[in-house]
Symmetry: C2
């Protein structure tokens, strides 16, 4: 397939490489910054452009991977070519595109990308939405050429997914930093906890989190919880976190869902 | 070295196998439940016993891996043999042993063990404490035969470590279950999030958590945070979690530590 990449950030970079590796042709890479466009274009054998007037209409798909608040303006400029246009944003409604073109979809990769880390794209979940069944089918076919994990997710679901990712990724990472601080205050290295963090994540790759919950709260080990609260006595904010999350675990364990 | 294993739970099982694989001789395995003792003893080529009167004094080390509240009674029975005794508990003070014998230490593996999952013991952090320098040196030598990650950690530090592990392991696992519930309520599968969970843990194996924090809170993206709070409007407990952890991330990002 002939594909044009609009954007040169982390998502655009990893996705362009995945398309190229799967045998697709990247026609052009657009970025407002011509050097960023040139760098990515060079890697994927495409032409670099920094002006949307230079877009080559001989393409099958525009992949718009720019900041959420820039999507509408870019799509407005691309719509005149009457080709399929997708955005890659978790938080942006499909309607943002449908206001500008009927030929629209979403191609949202649910992963945390960094330029410094290689990602195996075949394991990245791709969440697709199309303006109609025909577009969705086209996007599915394309998605399976680069990933084994392809899902149809509508705009309402995608908003929930984005929220769930905050609980599953952003908040755990914050708690890792809390643990690191506790160790540092007591002259211990974060390396002590790294194998435990990895194993905790690996366990839920096969199991349900609820079934592998460990620690004092799930055992209702009140002695240990009281001792922990005493260790946190100078840190009221962490006491609050400890109490709230322990209560959640205790409720889960009683078969209630977390918010009851 | 000749080693006697007291206990047959997850820690005893994985540790006995690691000692055996490193060329040590397991003399006996004790469990109150003779079948549990027999099963583990069979795997590591040892004699099974279910009575502490049957202990063979021709050993170099007793590894006591029983429930925290059973440690003292077991050690009292073993102390007459005047051999080195260690416990494997995160939450138990060395003094619990020193009240009964001067020949004591701690050999605490910081990992979450399940019988169904293989663990590469060479990456398990071993936290050691000895009643004196000589005992600590002996334990270090032994520890390096089964792990590359060996640390001297005193009883006060070990309590902090145990607390930090709650933040780094038990609480993230709970947040995984919250994310799973959010998806299930909206007809989405947990598989969507599994690659993200793994990548989030893998990132901090090389990086500091604070430096790889992502999400709306660290960007101070108030629009997204308000939208997320609205999605949680029927779940006040999760709103509280969302607010508290987002505030922590925002404070971290301002260079304050989490509890200020």
């Amino acid at each position: 397939m002939n594909i044009t990449i609009i954007g040169s950030g982390n998502v655009a970079t990893h996705m362009a490489a995945a398309f190229k590796n799967a045998g697709h042709r990247i026609v052009q890479v657009y970025s407002r910054n011509v050097q960023h466009a040139a760098l990515l274009a060079y890697h994927v054998g495409a032409e670099a452009i920094d002006n949307l007037d230079q877009v080559n209409p001989d393409t099958g798909l525009f992949v718009v991977s720019v900041k959420d608040d820039a999507i509408a303006a870019v799509v407005k400029a691309l719509a005149i070519h009457e080709k399929l246009i997708v955005h890659t944003s978790g938080a942006t409604d499909l309607n943002t595109l449908l206001n500008l073109t009927p030929n629209a979809g979403v191609f949202y990769p649910l992963q945390t990308f960094s330029k410094i880390r290689e990602v195996n794209f075949r394991s990245v979940p791709l969440c697709l939405e199309g303006a109609n069944d025909n577009i969705l089918a086209q996007l599915k076919q394309l998605a399976f050429t680069i990933s084994n994990n392809v899902y149809a997710v509508d705009s309402a679901q995608r908003k929930i997914l984005h929220l769930a990712a905050v609980f599953a990724c952003n908040f755990p990472n914050y708690l890792y930093s809390v643990a690191q601080d506790l160790l540092a205050q007591n002259q211990m290295e974060f390396d002590l906890l790294r194998p435990l963090i990895l194993e905790t994540a690996q366990k839920v790759l096969e199991q349900e989190p609820r079934n592998v919950q460990t620690g004092p709260a799930v055992r209702n080990d009140e002695g240990t919880m009281v001792a922990h609260m005493q260790l946190l006595s100078d840190m009221p904010m962490l006491q609050e976190v400890y109490t709230l999350l322990s209560q959640g675990i205790i409720k889960n364990n009683k078969g209630l869902t977390a918010h009851e």
